[in-house]
Symmetry: C2
Subunit: 433 residues, 2 copies
């Protein structure tokens, strides 16, 4: 990311200057969102803009309520060297001014987070379902209840940027219809519409509601904030009741024609193998999903859950360890195919596969060794850094995308403070509100 | 692709004006390369530039020897309507002025083509190997012999833009080392260097030599010139001794970290299945590659080849038809996984799988039906339009990329004619040569 330093110096084109100024405001905010607090000197160095321009843009972001400045006492070593005696102010994001409400729906319950600028998790709550998640109204009720709870606890002034819901299923964009989510028992559920209606009826709120596939949001989370930072070719796999995947190609999420790409759980790895909920035989998730793992350690999936398996493994139970290693072979068979197809830099394992990876690493790596030499070179297989937060932080990044693209325009729509004029030629758009 | 019509009108910035002019020259040439001959009126309409600018850019391309103008008699119906009585000149690419020499290496021999602007195939030759292709020197000799043959038959003045070689293996970029090509018996073969040295020694030529994976080049060929035109999400599969693949994501070739992505032949579809040359069991190519097909129809792969299978099928041999249908089931199992992963708009089958598709279509479609509903929606499975020319035309597009990006600069390096000055402020770069 580079600020457009050259273009702001032109004087004859007010319209394009206004565009460039708003782009620079956006780039400054993105920098603070990605790196956290920075001194004005660091901002100047990172952007290539001059000191006074950086100051003016910071003032504008401060007027929007998105950043604040404080004296740089805490980092005085840096400040004294660069500031020539005058301490450089530290610019920090106001993390709670705008927040995303993100919900991760799994078969067992909903985890919810309020996430602010800089990916700060300001609140986090979890509620287990007391009914079958196939009861869509019950899931909507759980989400709305969590939303109300968190909204009531937001410090003012705070604005809800968007509500984002991660779902283990195929999601149609842009209307957020869940086409199928077999582990929830959902088919053609207009969850975005149902949730919007329920929020409006219950709280009078009409936020933007976005629905994402859990694998996609997890991949975005790990790519921007977790184990796959600094990588442009990423394969993310989350073990749950199903197996979700998200694939980052050249820094961008792989979507395919309808946005349904990345269904790694339905890679057929054993055509004569067990029946999958999707109707096919030997899908990867039928072999390495939570039910298969629970069975492999000799437990009954109707009684035990994946936490029991984790406890068995932690206790050194030999039957459990052997079962997990056998699962690891199938994990490796699938990964070998995926590595041959995508030639990723890093494979990030989340969910149960991430939790159990230490116990299955040797068998995974042995089976992954079947991939072709060139595609296998330098690929790292790592555990998720974010764990269950990957979907929450990925969802928050999706919610923040519009604000980071155009803070001035987005805050105007959200009803934020009016931007302070920087120079007379810069206020055209701002004064028209 | 849009010409940068706005920017050329500015008068105060000669440096950026020169850049924009060269971009406009490039865009005009690309338009002619993609669509063939166009009248000046059509060029003006397609670019949004004014008539005199289009004329000046055309004159510049003509001076480079890349296009010529002729009166539009053959298309007078169009011309009379648009030209207000004065016939619009037809601008056509000079297809032979610059040519790519492209070679498709398979296990049985080399097909070579000289390809000009507009993807016109000007010459095409095929030579079968009389030695095992593992003898790299023999393959280099075959390619150099074909190159000399074609160079001698080029009409003057013609310039060889680049030599491109399609290889069934993993190719390292940018040095064109073949890391592995099991069907040729190659491992770590520096084919680009060997070929450059042989061309220099034998013909005194030092062209750019580019090496590409056959699946990747086939995908590019079908995407730009064949069955996947107008599609941005494409899965290309070529059946040969191995099974090659190339994947177009959002209009761009999927490369992965090292450029090795798209190895669909080593998707593991049956872990207990036959041994693959790569060392793994049950790779897709072990089940649907030519050897498997020849066996499935009851023939001996040591004696028969895929043409015998095609003849059996054409003759309606029932054992052959049943065998091909069984192969089709495995083709469908692999495609179902790939469709779940990539959610493509179109799957293009080339090589033996394209040739045999009519005989296996029902079993392929039945097995593909295992893919998830949403990923399967609207996906078309079609035969290659280009057949064995897909690699040749894809390779030519790679060779032409640099010329189409900057015709003025590229022709100067290649020793083309000097560009004619368009206006006094435009000749800075041209006059410095």
């Amino acid at each position: 990311m580079r600020l457009q330093a050259g273009a702001v110096r032109r004087r004859s084109e007010p319209a394009s200057q206004e565009v460039v100024r708003r782009q620079n405001v956006a780039s400054l905010l993105r920098l603070l969102h990605e790196r956290g607090s920075l001194t004005r000197s660091e901002l100047t160095a990172a952007t290539g803009l001059n000191r006074s321009t950086t100051g003016a843009l910071t003032t504008e972001l401060a007027a929007l309520g998105l950043v604040r400045e404080r004296s740089g006492g805490a980092r005085s070593g840096v400040v004294e060297v660069r500031g020539k005696g005058r301490p450089s102010l530290v610019v920090e994001p106001v993390v709670g001014r705008v927040q995303a409400l993100v919900f991760d729906v799994t078969t067992t319950g909903v985890t919810a987070a309020a996430v602010g600028l800089g990916a700060f998790v300001l609140q986090i709550r979890r509620r287990l379902f007391d009914r079958d998640p196939q009861d869509v109204a019950g899931v909507v009720e759980t989400i709305v209840g969590l939303a109300e709870f968190m909204l009531a606890r937001m410090k003012q002034p705070a604005t809800c940027l968007a509500v984002v819901v991660s779902v283990p299923g195929s999601v149609r964009q842009p209307d957020g219809q869940v086409r199928r989510a077999p582990s929830l028992g959902w088919s053609e559920v207009p969850i975005a519409r149902l949730l919007s209606e329920a929020l409006a009826a219950r709280s009078g709120l009409r936020p933007t509601v976005l629905i994402g596939n859990d694998g996609d949001l997890g991949a975005i989370g790990e790519h921007l904030r977790g184990a796959a930072r600094h990588h442009q070719e990423v394969l993310y796999v989350r073990g749950e009741t199903g197996v979700a995947g998200g694939i980052i190609v050249d820094g961008e999420l792989l979507k395919g024609r309808g946005g349904y790409a990345g269904e790694v759980g339905h890679l057929v790895v054993d055509p004569g193998g067990p029946l999958c909920r999707c109707g096919a035989r030997g899908c990867w998730e039928a072999l390495v999903g939570n039910t298969a793992i629970i069975r492999a350690v000799g437990r009954d999936p109707g009684i035990s859950d994946i936490d029991d398996v984790l406890a068995d493994v932690a206790a050194g139970n030999r039957r459990a360890l052997a079962g997990v290693r056998r699962i690891g072979e199938w994990v490796g068979v699938g990964l070998a195919s995926l590595i041959n197809l995508f030639n990723p830099e890093v494979v990030v394992l989340g969910g149960s596969l991430g939790s159990l990876y230490p116990a299955m690493e040797s068998s995974v790596r042995s089976a992954v060794g079947r991939a072709l030499g060139p595609t296998l070179e330098n690929v790292a297989i790592v555990r998720s850094e974010l764990g269950a937060d990957a979907q929450l932080l990925g969802g928050a990044e999706v919610a923040f995308a519009e604000l980071l693209h155009d803070p001035v325009g987005t805050m105007r729509i959200l009803g934020g403070s009016a931007p302070a004029p920087v120079a007379s030629s810069d206020v055209r758009a701002a004064s028209s509100q």
